[in-house]
């Protein structure tokens, strides 16, 4: 299987030959890859080098925490990349911006109101979590379309709080 993996704008071509052999950008490596204790902690022996990383799947790919550095990687299989290159990029259509809770917490205050015309950076909601109060701000200019919460309400991670149109 051939993969195209992108980290920080740099693209790596990785071919997985079999359980113990891969090729990275044309260079072959012997590998031994195993999950430790059935957790997302992976041990990799690669040409004798021993590396261990925590890794998590995200919406866009994988987060790899290796020696205290976080890498965001996108992995695609080569055929998918080729197919995508042929097709046209879809136009950006998103017009609404959703303020989502960046953490679970308690709504302390709502500092805007429906219909308000706001600028990017305008404070919308004050959320308390772990004893800290956090001011959540708009990331775009626009109009407050919806407010989906009330003061005193407990909210979950990523829950939509406010819709800005």
């Amino acid at each position: 299987m051939k993969y195209v993996t992108t980290i920080g704008g740099h693209t790596y071509h990785v071919e997985v030959i079999d359980e113990h052999h891969i090729v990275l950008d044309g260079k072959p490596y012997e590998v031994d890859f195993t999950a430790i204790a059935n957790q997302p902690v992976y041990s990799l022996l690669i040409n004798g080098r021993s590396l261990e990383a925590n890794a998590f799947q995200t919406g866009e790919g994988w987060q790899v925490l290796l020696h205290g550095k976080m890498f965001e990687a996108r992995v695609e299989d080569e055929q998918a990349v080729r197919a995508r290159a042929v097709a046209h990029a879809a136009p950006e259509t998103a017009n609404e911006w959703l303020l989502r809770a960046p953490m679970p917490g308690l709504v302390v205050n709502i500092t805007t109101s429906i219909g308000a015309e706001i600028k990017k950076g305008a404070p919308l909601v004050i959320l308390e979590s772990m004893k800290m109060q956090n001011e959540l701000r708009s990331q775009k200019d626009g109009t407050v379309k919806e407010i989906r919460i009330q003061p005193g309400q407990a909210v979950d991670l990523h829950q939509v709080l406010v819709v800005v149109g």
Partner: protein, 505 residues
């Protein structure tokens, strides 16, 4: 005084810390817990445990009335408040006294004198101790008064909660225009954290160090200092990494002694007993100013324990029992170097937002010179109700360099899966040349340090990360393919295990 059964009015790592001290002294213990904390270590380790109330602190750990009632009911004759929650509440200390319960802390009047930061500044200034310029007022001021005085203090300045501590209810103000809004924010946060929305102003001293002295004082009036801690590494006024001794004071024994003696005098000025901490700002000319006194056990007390060999919590209990100090000033010898990293459940790659969830795995670093004080374990659920400190990683080394290298290896070993932590932040900090050189002040983390700012270095291996990510993607797509296939033997085709022949020899 008898201390035959201690109720610990706290949770998390500090409750565990106090429980351990009690157990090592052979004193029975009582835990109290909120709904979220039934499986917490402090409940598991205590001899007795009683339910307090719903998870929010105001309904549980801040319910002084319930805690006193439980103490009465179970026959606890002493209460250790830990830090935070009720630790610096004069009324709680007095409530204990009235109920005939030993409060393992200072007397109520000392808390009153030092707990209200504005009163404290006035008190120590009267005793001839230099304070950071600000609103030296009697009592608490209104917004209008503060806005008026702000011009005299000068900008930038800090709004600080009178009842404050731990950076809560604190705001930096750069211009007069910002002041009204930030006063509101600080008051709101202070009200939520301490139940007291009063604030005061303090000049913001730039390129200053935060250096604090640990003291012990007994009921006979003897006060000693256990050296200093360097606490300049902060983010949003929250300490992140502390060390003892301070590299800034270094081998300047004269400065250490001068500041230590001022610290003792400060404590004595309010008739203090118990462990306590006097915080100073030290400017680049080595002039120092009293900031505040914390009339309680401090988060970072282990750094001092590591270099003195003195168990500060056990000393607190001895002092509460009315025993004289076991050490004279000349018995206190500082040996080696200690660092403490506060491990918080927060995402360093996303503005340090708090992170909650069930811990799938906690693997703590161990071995020579490593100490971990924590309240969590594999399987524990980190909830949003309390602060984000889930562990303290403390190391000792013969020298600062050895301590730093040891801390690096310990951070690399630490595995916490289930919530995001600031471990990568500490790892980056411990590689920063300015930290290594001891060249930092209280603004360093926020102004001159960036996580992943430096993308070079020996340990930067994007190509290896690419291989990890690819193998994981491959593995998960192979697994997905297998689920499609009915035949079970297919599952062994891509067995990424260590058994068998062809492994990396």
């Amino acid at each position: 005084m008898l201390v035959n059964k201690v109720l610990i009015a706290n949770r998390g790592e500090i409750a565990v810390r106090v429980l351990r001290a009690c157990r090592e002294l052979g004193i029975p213990t009582v835990a109290v817990y909120s709904e979220a904390d039934r499986q917490s270590l402090h409940v598991r380790y205590a001899d007795e445990a009683y339910f307090l109330g719903p998870s929010p602190a105001r309904d549980s750990y801040l319910r002084a009335d319930k805690i006193l009632e439980i103490a009465h009911r179970c026959g606890a004759d002493a209460i250790h408040p830990g830090y935070g929650f009720l630790a610096e509440r004069e009324d709680f200390a007095r409530g204990c006294e009235d109920a005939g319960i030993v409060f393992i802390g200072p007397k109520p009047s000392s808390i009153a004198a030092m707990g209200d930061k504005t009163t404290a500044r006035a008190t120590v200034a009267k005793a001839g101790i230099p304070v950071v310029p600000g609103t030296e007022g009697e009592g608490n001021l209104s917004d209008e008064e503060l806005i008026r005085i702000a011009a005299q203090v000068g900008f930038p300045l800090l709004v600080k909660a009178s009842a404050g501590g731990g950076g809560k209810g604190m705001r930096e103000v750069r211009t007069p225009e910002e002041l009204p809004h930030l006063l509101q924010a600080a008051r709101r946060e202070a009200e939520a954290a301490f139940g007291d929305g009063n604030v005061y102003l303090e000049k913001l001293i730039l390129t200053a160090r935060h250096v604090e002295f640990q003291i012990l004082a007994d009921k006979e009036g003897d006060v000693i200092y256990l050296g200093e801690r360097e606490c300049s590494l902060q983010r949003r006024h929250q300490k992140l990494l502390e060390e003892a001794p301070s590299p800034f004071i270094g081998s300047d024994e004269t400065l250490r002694r001068t500041m230590g003696e001022v610290a003792c005098r400060t404590a004595a000025s309010v008739g203090y007993y118990n462990a306590g901490t006097i915080e100073f700002l030290v400017d680049k000319d080595r002039k120092f100013y009293f900031l505040e006194m914390n009339t309680r056990l401090q988060v970072e007390h282990p750094a001092t324990e590591m270099i003195t060999g003195i168990d500060i919590v056990k000393e607190q209990i001895r002092i509460a029992r009315g025993r004289p100090l076991r050490y004279r000033q000349e018995d206190v010898k500082l040996s080696g170097w200690s660092l403490e990293c506060r491990i918080n459940a927060e995402d360093p790659y996303n503005q340090f937002t708090p992170s909650t969830g069930r811990l799938q795995l906690v693997f703590v670093p161990t071995g020579p010179g490593v100490r971990v004080d924590t309240g969590v374990y594999s399987g524990f659920e980190v909830t949003p109700y309390y602060d984000s400190l889930i562990s303290k990683l403390i190391v000792w080394g013969e020298t600062r360099a050895e301590a730093i290298l040891r801390m690096r290896r310990a951070l690399e070993e630490y595995r916490i899966i289930g919530v995001k932590t600031n471990i990568p932040f500490h790892q980056a900090l411990l590689e920063s040349p300015r930290f290594l050189a001891g060249l930092f002040d209280t603004r360093f983390v926020e102004e001159r340090f960036a996580l992943n700012g430096e993308t070079g270095g020996e340990d930067y291996h994007p190509e290896m990360a690419a291989i990890f990510a690819t193998l994981m993607e491959h593995q998960s797509s192979q697994r997905a393919a297998q689920i499609m296939q009915p035949a079970r033997q297919a599952a062994s085709r891509w067995k990424w295990s260590s058994r068998g022949e062809g492994k990396g020899r």
